[in-house]
Every structure is written in structure tokens, then in C-alpha cells.
């Protein structure tokens, strides 16, 4: 019965309800949208990293620490036989990592030089561009970011200088054979990619590797020697850490949005109780008990949330769906800032997100509807009837 009256009151107060609901719906929409964008970005970044870099996981040489280039000098050996067997079956590929300096246009640039089998199919990298350059001393694959940093173009030659095993410097000429457009900045910034056998002979480390990346679904090997297995969970860890570090920022954004919506409803509720004092008095005179009047006003506020959810679905739903399906084109290329961000952002709406947002918004709406309504319980009907309401 209360519900019916509350609904009638809401629908009757057309414009007021409409504005209230629109504001709430808009915040609702923004919360959903920003959260979904955020989730979409994370999911995309994770997926790109797995697709282009991690695949099923890797075995690392015990000395290898990707964050410390000084370890590269020691981090190489012939992979243990079981791992080598995976490579031979094309279920994995080895990468040999070393420091090197390049001299594009006479400048010096420290880089990480990685040798990769050009015919690998396990990660999504255009390594086959390194194939078939018998006339070139060292074919080199670089990313777009690296290309613009070093001002190198396809066909440009430059000097590569590296430290070989007997700790003497050696140099040769590399030629850019392809510039790849990858979303994974980690394959791009500061990297030069060269066919594995070239790097092995440059460094005089025949058959050696720093790490071995295996494909998805490959079973772990028993006889991995002292090499360290790094599964997907481990390899996405640092990215998840970046994400976690970013979360408080996003959460503050929700909180602000939620506070906006809550304040709107709170305000509307206080105002409505203040203005409707006479109505409250009349309801009491007609014989509505005070708890019921409190319930009625709380319900009216709460119904705001329900209507808002419906409006969000109807008005903003198509927008949310459109972005979800087609993404949002980004005008700037963020990869140069060291972020894995798609050229088109695609928000991801998980059921968890929708449900948790709905519950959160509903609880908050109910609280901000109830708190002002509680005053009614303390009102004297005679004061209310005279329109004398303490605000």
C-alpha cells in the first residue's frame, strides 16, 4: 500500500521526480561507465601482454632479472634438455637477452638487444619480418616508439655495439627491416629485436638462451634444471601491481560520483520534507502513523533509485552498449607514455560490476532517503499542519 502511494507521489510530482531521477541516473551511468572503462583497460592491457609477450608462461635462466640489465651478462646458457625438447617441438621458443648500444645518426642509445627465432608463432609479434635478409649483416625489428625516439626508418643502417663473452667490445652494422606497431610498449621502448642465431653468433653463445617462452596449454616440464618457471600469474604480477596502484584514483572518482548522487537525493529529500510539512500533517490527521509516514518518504526516496536504474537502462543503456560493442576511439597514442592502452577503448561490463554498483547505489539512496525522513517521526502533527517544520 505504501509502495502504491509512494509511486503515485513520485509520478505525480512529474518535473521534480524527473530531475531527481535524471541526476541519479546520470551518476549511476558515469559510475558504471568509468568502472567499465577501467576494467576494460585493465583487461585489454592484460590480454595484450599475454598475447604479445607472455603466452603460456616462461622458464627463466636463474640469473635473469628483466628489471636489472646488469644481470644479462650472466643470464645465459643452453636450456635444460626438457625445455630444449619443448623448443624442438615448436611448443616454445628461446630468447637471448643482452645489453647493447646503438648509434643512430651518430647519437648513442643504450638498448636491450633480444634474439628471437623469426619463425616463432607463439607470441603475436611480426618476427617473420626478420626472415630472408641474407644480404643484410644484422636485420633489426623495432617498435614505432623506438623508431621515433631514434629517428630510424625502414632501410636505415646504424652501428650496434655490444660486449661479448671475453669482455671486449664488438660492433657491426644493423639495418631496420621492419617497424612494428605494437600496443605492448614493453616490446618497443628501448628494444631491438634480431634473429636469434645472429645474436647467438654475435655474442658467441651458440645454442644459448636467457629465457624460454612456451605456448598456452603447454604442460610444465619436470627436468627444468636450475631454470625458474614463471607462470602467467607471475608474469602479469607487475602489471597487476601497476593496476592496483592505480585503483585508489579510480575509487576516489566513484566516491565523488556517488557523493554527488547521494547529495542530490539528500537535498531533494530534505527539501521535499520541508516543503511538504502540511502534507505530512494532513497524512497524520487522516490517520497515517508516524512510522508509516517515515516509511512513505523513505520509500519515495528509494524509488528514486529504482527509477534511476530504469532510466539508466533505457536512456544510457544504448550508449553503454554502443561503447561496449564499438569502443571509444582515442585521439592520442598513449603507448609512448608507457601505457598499454588500446587505440579504441572498450569498456567491459561485468555482472559483478553492474550488481555491485546497483547494490551500492541502492543502499546509499536508501540511507540518504531515510535520514532526512526520520525527522518526520519527531514532528508534532499540529506543527506540521501549520507548515511549521524544522529543517
Amino acid at each position: 500500500m505504501l509502495l502504491k502511494i509512494a509511486l503515485k507521489n513520485l509520478l505525480g510530482a512529474r518535473l521534480r521526480t524527473f530531475l531527481n531521477v535524471l541526476v541519479t541516473a546520470f551518476s549511476f551511468y558515469l559510475i558504471l561507465f568509468t568502472s567499465a572503462m577501467y576494467d576494460g583497460m585493465l583487461q585489454h592491457a592484460k590480454q595484450v601482454t599475454m598475447d604479445t609477450e607472455i603466452a603460456g608462461g616462461a622458464y627463466w635462466h636463474p640469473e635473469y632479472d628483466p628489471l636489472d640489465p646488469m644481470t644479462f651478462e650472466e643470464a645465459h646458457s643452453v636450456p635444460p634438455s626438457a625445455i630444449q625438447a619443448l623448443i624442438d617441438e615448436n611448443k616454445a621458443f628461446p630468447v637471448l637477452v643482452s645489453q647493447a648500444s646503438i648509434y643512430p645518426g651518430g647519437r648513442i642509445m643504450p638498448t636491450i638487444m633480444k634474439g628471437i627465432p623469426p619463425n616463432q608463432r607463439i607470441v603475436n609479434m611480426p618476427t617473420d619480418a626478420l626472415l630472408g635478409h641474407e644480404d643484410i649483416a644484422i636485420p633489426v625489428l623495432i617498435g614505432k616508439g623506438m623508431a621515433s625516439e631514434s629517428k630510424l626508418e625502414v632501410g636505415d643502417a646504424f652501428t650496434i655495439r655490444w660486449l661479448d663473452t671475453d669482455l671486449t667490445y664488438d660492433a657491426d652494422e644493423g639495418t631496420v627491416v621492419h617497424i612494428m606497431d605494437t600496443e605492448n610498449f614493453k616490446l618497443d621502448m628501448g628494444h631491438i629485436w634480431i634473429p636469434l642465431n645472429k645474436v647467438q653468433s654475435m655474442l658467441a653463445m651458440e645454442g644459448e638462451a636467457t629465457y624460454v617462452t612456451y605456448g598456452k596449454g603447454v604442460q610444465p616440464v619436470q627436468d627444468k634444471g636450475d631454470w625458474i618457471p614463471r607462470d602467467i600469474n607471475y608474469l602479469v604480477q607487475d602489471m597487476e601491481a601497476i593496476i592496483e596502484a592505480d585503483k585508489p584514483g579510480a575509487q576516489i572518482l566513484y566516491l565523488i560520483l556517488l557523493a554527488m548522487a547521494a547529495m542530490g537525493i539528500f537535498n531533494a529529500q530534505v527539501l521535499s520534507i520541508f516543503r511538504r510539512g502540511r502534507e505530512i500533517g494532513t497524512l497524520m490527521a487522516i490517520g497515517m502513523t508516524r512510522p508509516r509516514v517515515v516509511g512513505l518518504f523513505t520509500l519515495e526516496g528509494g524509488l528514486n533509485a529504482v527509477l534511476s536504474a530504469a532510466v539508466t537502462l533505457i536512456v544510457f543503456g544504448p550508449i553503454l552498449w554502443y561503447f561496449g560493442a564499438y569502443g571509444i576511439p582515442l585521439p592520442i597514442d598513449y603507448s609512448e607514455m608507457g601505457l598499454i592502452i588500446a587505440k579504441r577503448l572498450i569498456p567491459v561490463y561485468t555482472i559483478g560490476l553492474v550488481v555491485s554498483t546497483t547494490i551500492l547505489v541502492s543502499i546509499i539512496v536508501l540511507i540518504v532517503s531515510y535520514i532526512p525522513s526520520r525527522r518526520i517521526a519527531k514532528m508534532k502533527p499540529t506543527d506540521a499542519l501549520r507548515g511549521k517544520v524544522m529543517a
Binding site: M1, G12, M284, A285, I286, G287, P381, T382
Partner: protein, 237 residues
């Protein structure tokens, strides 16, 4: 024939606290009111008419004295019990109508029945009857802002009598109306009084109302100064 007592008040005192002191709005009020009466509380502004009506309606409580309404001693009742008493057995008419602005005439009149959990079909016919009795059948779906003052007050009357209460309390029901509408309203109320055996109490200083009353209780400075039964020609229209 001895009729049932609807209201019995003994030694009523009502004081309002005003800045550490008390203002006495009603004192030494003794009053009996029987079923079917058509009575006015008459007196100058500030004499305590509204205060007395509010106490009878259980909207305010006495400082001292016994007030029993429809067999219930209000002193001993809770908020909820008084709300129930109003809901079941009382109707209120206000000077400024106090209709719910977002409701139609039908919905305004229906509200007391909804509160009393009357079922839908019965509600429909009771509302129709009440609206008919105030002559507003063709305004059933209008909202208050589309009605004249007289029509608003007639709607309020329909709302006050739709659940066939034993007692209707009306505070200056004609104060905002012109002479013609005032007479119209009073005729309606007077007819309802005869048909329904409902008791009516008016707070008023409107001469036009007085012409319809059968008993006038004069209030002055919070006390009953005169209580007269009168034989009004208009009361027998």
C-alpha cells in the same frame, strides 16, 4: 431519546511552553458532545478553537484533564492508537483544504480508504458516492490546481466523510470561500449530518456558518463562556 456521547472533556487545561514560561491556551474546559450534533466552537482569534479541535482529534495532548473521544480516553492511548482512531472514525476539514496536490480528486478522496485497507471495488463505489454527495462527479480526475476554492473544499469534505466517520472536525472550513460557496458547503455538510448520523464540530467565527449550527459553544481566552442550543431555521432546510 438519550444519544451516545461522542466527546467527553473534563477539566481540560492546555499550556504551551514559551521561552521558559507557559502560555495557557485552554483552561477549565468541560464539554460533552453527543452523537449527531452539529456544533460550532465560536470565538475571537486566539481564543483556543484550533487548539481544542486538535486535542479532540488526538493531534495534540492536554496538559491536564480527561479527554475521551468515541469511548477512548486519549490520555491513555499511544500515537499509533490515536492515528487508528482518526483513520477509522474521524474526518478532518481544514481552512486551506490540505489536498495532496499530486493526486486527483478521486485519489484524494480514496486515500482514507486505502489507509483503512478497504478493497478496491468497495473503494471505488464509496469514493463515487462521497464525490457525488459533494457534487463533483465530473471533476473526479482533476487535480487540485485545476479546481476552484469551493471545489477544493468540497473534495476535502468528500475525503473527510468517505469512510463514514463518527466525527468530523472542521477548522474554519469556509474562511477561504465566498458567501455563495460557504452556503453551498454548509448545506452539503448539514445534509450529510442528517443522512449519516455523523457528528460535526466547527471552529469558526464566520456568521454564515453560525446560521446552520444547532449548538454554539463560545470560547473566550481559552474558556467556555457560553454554551447554547439554538433553533436555527436554516438547520432544518
Amino acid at each position: 431519546m438519550e444519544k451516545d456521547t461522542v466527546i467527553r472533556i473534563k477539566g481540560l487545561l492546555k499550556q504551551f511552553p514559551i521561552g521558559g514560561q507557559f502560555f495557557t491556551a485552554l483552561k477549565n474546559v468541560d464539554l460533552d458532545l453527543n452523537e449527531g450534533e452539529f456544533t460550532g466552537l465560536v470565538g475571537p482569534s486566539g481564543s483556543g478553537k484550533t487548539t481544542l479541535l486538535n486535542i479532540i482529534g488526538g493531534l495534540d495532548s492536554p496538559t491536564e484533564g480527561q479527554v475521551s473521544v468515541l469511548g477512548q480516553a486519549l490520555n491513555d492511548t499511544s500515537h499509533a492508537e490515536r492515528a487508528r482512531l482518526r483513520r477509522k472514525h474521524m474526518g478532518f476539514i481544514f481552512q486551506s483544504y490540505n489536498l495532496l496536490p499530486v493526486y486527483t480528486v478521486f485519489e484524494n478522496v480514496e486515500l482514507p480508504l486505502i489507509l483503512n485497507k478497504v478493497d478496491k471495488n468497495e473503494r471505488r463505489s464509496m469514493v463515487a458516492q462521497a464525490v457525488e454527495s459533494v457534487g463533483l462527479r465530473d471533476k473526479m480526475d482533476s487535480r487540485p490546481n485545476m479546481l476552484s476554492g469551493g471545489e477544493c473544499q468540497r473534495t476535502a469534505i468528500a475525503r473527510a466523510i468517505v469512510h463514514q466517520p463518527a466525527l468530523v472536525l472542521a477548522d474554519e472550513p469556509t474562511a477561504n470561500l465566498d458567501a455563495e460557496n460557504s452556503h453551498h458547503i454548509m448545506k452539503i455538510l448539514s445534509n450529510l449530518n442528517k443522512e449519516l448520523s455523523t457528528s460535526f464540530i466547527f471552529a469558526t467565527h464566520d456568521e454564515k456558518i453560525m446560521a446552520y449550527l444547532r449548538r454554539i459553544i463560545h470560547l473566550g481566552d481559552g474558556e467556555i463562556t457560553k454554551d447554547e442550543i439554538i433553533d436555527n431555521p436554516k438547520a432544518h432546510d
